[in-house]
Protein backbone atom coordinates (compact mmCIF):
# COMPACT_ATOMS: atom_id res chain seq x y z
CA UNK A 1 0.00 0.00 0.00
CA UNK A 2 0.97 3.62 -0.44
CA UNK A 3 1.80 5.71 2.64
CA UNK A 4 1.47 9.51 2.40
CA UNK A 5 2.86 12.01 4.89
CA UNK A 6 1.85 15.64 5.36
CA UNK A 7 3.05 18.74 7.22
CA UNK A 8 5.17 18.05 10.34
CA UNK A 9 4.86 14.28 9.84
CA UNK A 10 6.23 14.64 6.29
CA UNK A 11 9.13 16.81 7.49
CA UNK A 12 10.13 14.36 10.22
CA UNK A 13 9.81 11.22 8.09
CA UNK A 14 11.71 13.07 5.36
CA UNK A 15 9.64 11.96 2.36
CA UNK A 16 6.19 12.76 0.98
CA UNK A 17 5.16 9.21 0.15
CA UNK A 18 6.37 5.64 -0.23
CA UNK A 19 5.26 2.10 -0.87
CA UNK A 20 5.04 0.09 2.36
CA UNK A 21 4.57 -3.61 2.97
CA UNK A 22 3.77 -4.18 6.64
CA UNK A 23 3.57 -7.77 7.98
CA UNK A 24 0.17 -9.49 8.10
CA UNK A 25 0.03 -9.01 11.89
CA UNK A 26 -0.40 -5.26 11.31
CA UNK A 27 -4.17 -5.13 10.97
CA UNK A 28 -5.35 -1.64 11.89
CA UNK A 29 -4.28 2.01 11.90
CA UNK A 30 -2.92 1.94 15.48
CA UNK A 31 -0.76 -1.10 14.70
CA UNK A 32 0.46 0.46 11.47
CA UNK A 33 1.54 3.59 13.37
CA UNK A 34 3.46 1.40 15.83
CA UNK A 35 5.09 -0.46 12.94
CA UNK A 36 6.03 2.75 11.11
CA UNK A 37 7.44 4.29 14.32
CA UNK A 38 9.85 1.35 14.57
CA UNK A 39 11.36 1.94 11.12
CA UNK A 40 13.95 4.52 12.09
CA UNK A 41 14.78 7.76 13.82
CA UNK A 42 12.70 10.08 11.61
CA UNK A 43 9.69 7.78 11.83
CA UNK A 44 10.05 7.43 15.60
CA UNK A 45 10.11 11.22 15.91
CA UNK A 46 7.19 11.72 13.53
CA UNK A 47 4.98 9.28 15.40
CA UNK A 48 6.29 9.91 18.94
CA UNK A 49 3.17 11.76 20.05
CA UNK A 50 0.49 9.24 19.03
CA UNK A 51 -2.40 11.48 20.07
CA UNK A 52 -1.23 14.19 17.64
CA UNK A 53 -1.43 11.88 14.61
CA UNK A 54 -4.45 11.71 12.33
CA UNK A 55 -4.90 9.10 9.61
CA UNK A 56 -6.93 8.82 6.44
CA UNK A 57 -7.58 5.63 4.48
CA UNK A 58 -8.19 6.26 0.79
CA UNK A 59 -8.86 9.93 1.57
CA UNK A 60 -11.38 9.30 4.38
CA UNK A 61 -10.63 10.09 8.03
CA UNK A 62 -9.88 6.81 9.81
CA UNK A 63 -10.05 5.87 13.46
CA UNK A 64 -7.29 3.95 15.21
CA UNK A 65 -9.19 0.65 15.04
CA UNK A 66 -9.95 0.96 11.31
CA UNK A 67 -8.76 -2.16 9.42
CA UNK A 68 -6.08 -1.54 6.79
CA UNK A 69 -6.31 -4.81 4.83
CA UNK A 70 -8.18 -3.33 1.85
CA UNK A 71 -6.52 0.10 1.94
CA UNK A 72 -4.75 1.29 -1.20
CA UNK A 73 -3.45 4.48 0.39
CA UNK A 74 -2.98 5.61 3.99
CA UNK A 75 -2.13 9.19 4.88
CA UNK A 76 -0.70 10.43 8.17
CA UNK A 77 -0.76 14.03 9.34
CA UNK A 78 -1.06 16.27 12.41
CA UNK A 79 -4.39 17.80 13.50
CA UNK A 80 -5.64 20.11 10.76
CA UNK A 81 -5.23 23.88 10.91
CA UNK A 82 -7.01 25.17 7.83
CA UNK A 83 -9.75 27.76 7.63
Amino acid sequence: MRALYFASVRERVGITEEEIDPPKSVANVAQLIDWLASRGEGYAEAFANRTAIRAAIDKNHARRDAPIASAREIAFFPPMTGG
Binding site: F6, S8, H61, A75, F77, M80, T81, G82, G83
Partner: protein
Protein backbone atom coordinates in the same frame (compact mmCIF):
# COMPACT_ATOMS: atom_id res chain seq x y z
CA UNK B 1 -31.30 20.72 -2.87
CA UNK B 2 -28.78 23.00 -4.58
CA UNK B 3 -25.28 21.86 -5.51
CA UNK B 4 -22.51 23.66 -3.59
CA UNK B 5 -19.66 25.34 -5.45
CA UNK B 6 -16.44 24.08 -3.83
CA UNK B 7 -12.96 25.11 -4.95
CA UNK B 8 -9.47 24.45 -3.62
CA UNK B 9 -6.98 26.69 -5.39
CA UNK B 10 -3.59 28.37 -5.13
CA UNK B 11 -4.94 31.47 -6.90
CA UNK B 12 -6.28 34.55 -5.09
CA UNK B 13 -10.08 34.90 -5.19
CA UNK B 14 -12.42 37.87 -5.35
CA UNK B 15 -14.91 37.61 -2.48
CA UNK B 16 -17.14 40.37 -3.87
CA UNK B 17 -17.34 38.73 -7.26
CA UNK B 18 -18.12 35.33 -5.72
CA UNK B 19 -21.00 36.85 -3.72
CA UNK B 20 -22.32 38.67 -6.79
CA UNK B 21 -22.17 35.47 -8.86
CA UNK B 22 -24.04 33.50 -6.21
CA UNK B 23 -27.00 35.89 -5.96
CA UNK B 24 -27.05 37.01 -9.60
CA UNK B 25 -30.54 36.75 -11.08
CA UNK B 26 -32.03 35.24 -7.89
CA UNK B 27 -35.29 36.70 -6.63
CA UNK B 28 -35.93 34.37 -3.69
CA UNK B 29 -32.75 35.04 -1.67
CA UNK B 30 -33.39 37.28 1.33
CA UNK B 31 -30.02 36.95 3.06
CA UNK B 32 -26.45 36.32 2.03
CA UNK B 33 -23.60 35.89 4.49
CA UNK B 34 -20.07 36.16 3.12
CA UNK B 35 -17.28 35.10 5.47
CA UNK B 36 -13.67 35.75 4.52
CA UNK B 37 -10.71 34.44 6.52
CA UNK B 38 -7.45 36.36 6.08
CA UNK B 39 -3.79 35.93 6.91
CA UNK B 40 -2.72 38.07 9.90
CA UNK B 41 0.80 39.49 10.30
CA UNK B 42 0.79 38.66 14.06
CA UNK B 43 2.07 42.10 15.08
CA UNK B 44 4.64 42.19 12.30
CA UNK B 45 6.32 38.88 13.17
CA UNK B 46 4.85 36.94 10.25
CA UNK B 47 5.64 37.51 6.56
CA UNK B 48 3.54 34.66 5.18
CA UNK B 49 1.59 31.54 5.91
CA UNK B 50 2.36 28.47 3.85
CA UNK B 51 -0.71 26.32 3.47
CA UNK B 52 -0.15 22.66 2.71
CA UNK B 53 -3.11 20.51 1.69
CA UNK B 54 -3.98 16.95 0.77
CA UNK B 55 -5.18 17.20 -2.85
CA UNK B 56 -8.36 15.29 -3.47
CA UNK B 57 -9.21 14.76 0.18
CA UNK B 58 -9.38 18.54 0.80
CA UNK B 59 -12.04 19.01 -1.90
CA UNK B 60 -13.86 15.88 -0.76
CA UNK B 61 -14.00 16.93 2.92
CA UNK B 62 -15.16 20.46 2.12
CA UNK B 63 -17.85 19.03 -0.17
CA UNK B 64 -18.95 16.64 2.61
CA UNK B 65 -19.26 19.49 5.13
CA UNK B 66 -21.10 21.58 2.53
CA UNK B 67 -23.47 18.66 1.95
CA UNK B 68 -24.18 18.45 5.68
CA UNK B 69 -24.90 22.18 5.82
CA UNK B 70 -27.33 21.82 2.92
CA UNK B 71 -29.08 18.95 4.72
CA UNK B 72 -29.46 21.09 7.87
CA UNK B 73 -30.52 24.42 6.38
CA UNK B 74 -32.59 25.21 3.28
CA UNK B 75 -29.86 27.18 1.53
CA UNK B 76 -30.40 28.73 -1.88
CA UNK B 77 -26.71 29.07 -2.71
CA UNK B 78 -23.39 27.99 -1.23
CA UNK B 79 -19.81 28.72 -2.32
CA UNK B 80 -16.71 27.57 -0.43
CA UNK B 81 -13.17 28.42 -1.57
CA UNK B 82 -9.98 27.48 0.25
CA UNK B 83 -6.52 28.52 -0.89
CA UNK B 84 -3.23 26.70 -0.48
CA UNK B 85 0.37 27.76 -1.10
CA UNK B 86 2.12 30.90 0.14
CA UNK B 87 -0.28 33.54 1.46
CA UNK B 88 0.84 36.95 2.74
CA UNK B 89 -0.66 39.12 5.51
CA UNK B 90 -3.87 40.75 4.33
CA UNK B 91 -4.48 38.10 1.69
CA UNK B 92 -7.60 35.97 1.78
CA UNK B 93 -7.32 32.30 2.76
CA UNK B 94 -10.88 31.02 2.89
CA UNK B 95 -14.31 32.10 1.70
CA UNK B 96 -17.80 30.92 2.57
CA UNK B 97 -20.82 32.49 0.88
CA UNK B 98 -24.17 31.19 2.11
CA UNK B 99 -27.47 32.43 0.69
CA UNK B 100 -30.91 31.68 2.10
CA UNK B 101 -34.39 33.12 2.36
CA UNK B 102 -33.71 34.31 5.92
CA UNK B 103 -30.60 35.57 7.71
CA UNK B 104 -30.65 32.95 10.52
CA UNK B 105 -30.07 30.11 8.09
CA UNK B 106 -27.32 31.96 6.24
CA UNK B 107 -25.49 32.96 9.46
CA UNK B 108 -25.72 29.49 11.01
CA UNK B 109 -24.73 27.63 7.86
CA UNK B 110 -21.64 29.79 7.28
CA UNK B 111 -20.53 29.37 10.89
CA UNK B 112 -21.12 25.61 10.72
CA UNK B 113 -19.05 25.43 7.53
CA UNK B 114 -16.11 27.28 9.09
CA UNK B 115 -16.20 25.27 12.33
CA UNK B 116 -16.03 21.96 10.47
CA UNK B 117 -13.60 23.11 7.78
CA UNK B 118 -11.11 23.86 10.53
CA UNK B 119 -11.35 20.43 12.14
CA UNK B 120 -11.99 18.19 9.10
CA UNK B 121 -10.47 19.62 5.94
CA UNK B 122 -6.83 18.51 5.47
CA UNK B 123 -4.95 21.83 5.45
CA UNK B 124 -1.94 22.77 7.56
CA UNK B 125 -0.47 26.22 8.17
CA UNK B 126 3.24 26.88 8.52
CA UNK B 127 4.50 30.29 9.64
CA UNK B 128 7.21 32.18 7.78
CA UNK B 129 8.71 34.65 10.25
CA UNK B 130 9.90 38.18 9.47
CA UNK B 131 13.10 37.76 11.55
CA UNK B 132 14.20 34.91 9.28
CA UNK B 133 14.03 32.30 12.05
CA UNK B 134 12.58 28.93 11.13
CA UNK B 135 8.82 29.17 11.42
CA UNK B 136 6.82 26.39 12.98
CA UNK B 137 3.60 24.64 12.12
CA UNK B 138 0.53 26.31 13.57
CA UNK B 139 -0.89 24.18 16.40
CA UNK B 140 -4.48 23.03 16.26
CA UNK B 141 -6.58 24.75 18.92
CA UNK B 142 -8.83 22.96 21.40
CA UNK B 143 -11.23 25.88 20.97
CA UNK B 144 -11.72 24.87 17.32
CA UNK B 145 -12.74 21.35 18.36
CA UNK B 146 -15.10 22.86 20.93
CA UNK B 147 -16.61 25.14 18.28
CA UNK B 148 -17.28 22.15 16.03
CA UNK B 149 -18.69 19.96 18.79
CA UNK B 150 -21.35 22.50 19.78
CA UNK B 151 -23.24 21.60 16.59
CA UNK B 152 -24.11 18.22 18.09
CA UNK B 153 -23.39 15.18 15.99
CA UNK B 154 -19.66 14.65 15.55
CA UNK B 155 -19.29 14.45 11.80
CA UNK B 156 -15.64 13.42 11.76
Amino acid sequence: MIAPNVRVTNEPFDAYREEALLIEGCRDIGAVVTFTGLCRDEAGTLVALELEHFPGMAEQEIAAVAGEALARWPLLGLTVIHRYGLIGPGEKIVLVVAAARHRGEAFQASEFLMDFLKTRAPFWKKEHRSDGAAGGWVEAKASDDAAASRWGKDTS
